[in-house]
């Protein structure tokens, strides 16, 4: 179980506190994560994507992740692991 700290919301609570979007990288570098959300044949799509990206850039390291189901949001642990290991991600979403 993830350790957690409880803090009190310092805002007026009119809106949920959301993360700000990270800046989109201008080029591929570092570690790129490919997340398969477990839709049918999503794994095949991600495999093809990985091959294409590897050809396009030999300096980028690719890491593969797979959510257990597409029907639920990613668990905290999963998100934290991806965020720790990757500089950017591609998430395969649609059918």
């Amino acid at each position: 179980m993830t350790d957690s700290l409880v803090i009190l919301d310092p805002t007026d609570e009119q809106r949920p506190i959301v993360s700000r979007l990270a800046q989109r990288p201008s080029r591929l570098a570092g570690t790129l994560g490919i997340i398969d959300i477990s839709k049918a044949r999503g794994d095949i799509f991600c495999d093809e994507l990985e091959l294409l990206l590897a050809k396009q850039s030999t300096s980028v390291k690719i890491e593969r992740f797979r959510k257990p189901t597409f029907t639920k949001p990613a668990a905290d642990d999963f998100r934290e692991e991806v965020a720790e290991r990757c500089n950017a991600i591609i998430q395969a979403l649609a059918d």
Partner: protein, 548 residues
Amino acid sequence: MSRLPDAGNVSPSFTLMDLAEISCDFGQTFDHPAYLLFFVKKDCETCTLVAPVVEQIHQTLSAHGLKVLTISQSNKVDTQKFIKDTGLTTTILLDQNLYVSDDYGFDAVPTFVLTNETGTILKTFEGWSQNSFNELLEKSVKILNTKLTQFETSILVLPDWLPGCASRVHDPDTARRLAVRRGDERLAARRIRVPVKTEKDEFEFLFNRGLTDGLPVVPPTEKRVLKMLDGTSRPATDVVAHVPPNLSPVTVEKIAINAVMAGCRPEYIPVVIAAVEAVCTDTFNLHGVLATTYFVGPVIIVNGPIRHDINLNCGRNLFGQGTRANATIGRALQLIVRNIGGGKPGEVDMSTFGQPGKFTCCIGEFEERSCWDPLHVERGFKVKQNTVTVFAGEAPRAIRDQRSRSASSLATSLGLSLESVAHVKLHGMGEVLLVVSPEHNQTFARGGYTKDTLRERIQEVTSRPLSELLPDPNCEKGTPLSVLPREWKTSDNSVTEQALSQSFPKFLDSKDILITVAGGEAGKFSAVVGGWAAGGLGSSAVTREIQF
């Protein structure tokens, strides 16, 4: 205040360990006709004195079904010493985390709780009272269907009344821990669970969610916020103000949360509350101060004895870094404007340049080094009253005069320097804050200059013919016609011939030259903090008394 349940209520159930680390339940099943709970701690004289009486009850009435549980707030070793000193042979249970004591809610030990066979309370009392004890005894023998014969001798050696000792639940840090466990009703704010894998995560979390001013903030845990709330007697649910630009209500609790984030100590929170009240007035016009492209922010000036109570800097390095009260009070206000009011750069905050004072700007007046009435006295308060004055100000700028020996010369110097506030040709301005250093103030004291004399001299020195102040081909900036007296203007919105030769001072009203004395005792400089738009269209300084 004691929350010990009265007779007729059900006693809270619990599970505690005894000295042999065997678990003992109370309140799940009842196999005795009556129970006596005796709460104690070591180093409580009264507990030690009355323990033999409790022992006697145990010896006499256990055979009739009374179960005596001595519940100690001390650790195992101290409890064992207490047992040795008092000779108690009852069941001894350890309430080291004080949850059971907190559930029973008493303020003092010893505390006695007598219950019947279903856990319903028959009698309670705290400390020692002969009468209360007699009553407890009476109820015990009644419920046990027996008679008393052997007690009188030992009871007679005890006074009619003895005070208890404070229950350990009131130890400061313990009280807050227990309040968090109880879900202290003072804390109504939404809880946010921050996943923490490394020690930096909670700081990054707060950064990533736009809740900081760019510097790390102290994570506002429940315990820290409860501690902050101890700094004021105002209820946590009090709505202090509605904060622009969103006009969101800010409670004392929300102020405390942001004050924790800023790094305030609890004794600073009354100052922060007063500052929030002051900036949220129509007179101060925080919305305008925030939304303008000009670069002003609230400058907080504190007067009164509180300056010393909270070690607020009034002297050397006045506007600079290093003093916690100065740094964090101003910062708390800015975080409230951001997090509650929604005033963020790039959104409603349209300031072209901003300025460092928008991180924090809080100073104290050096009243003890001034020959004049302090700022708050001029503004209608008594010298011993604690106040904040908020002023919409630029960053401070230096006025260097290390040569003037006479008050008249120094006043001339300050006036000439003040003409450059905002723009030399911009006259008829609104408020300005002049911070006179102690050395400069001494020069005025020697020359018998009052604040009003200084103001008059500033206006005199800055007065120029209107013809020099209007836009011209060389410099299209000038004093706007809107600030000129009506009689100087023509019907077609120009100026009359006669007006051109009239002298017009820098400030529309000399009373708008706010003067305070502060800064280090060495240095023949003063500081000017320029203001924003005048009066009804802009912002005017507001002074509020600090309430505790």
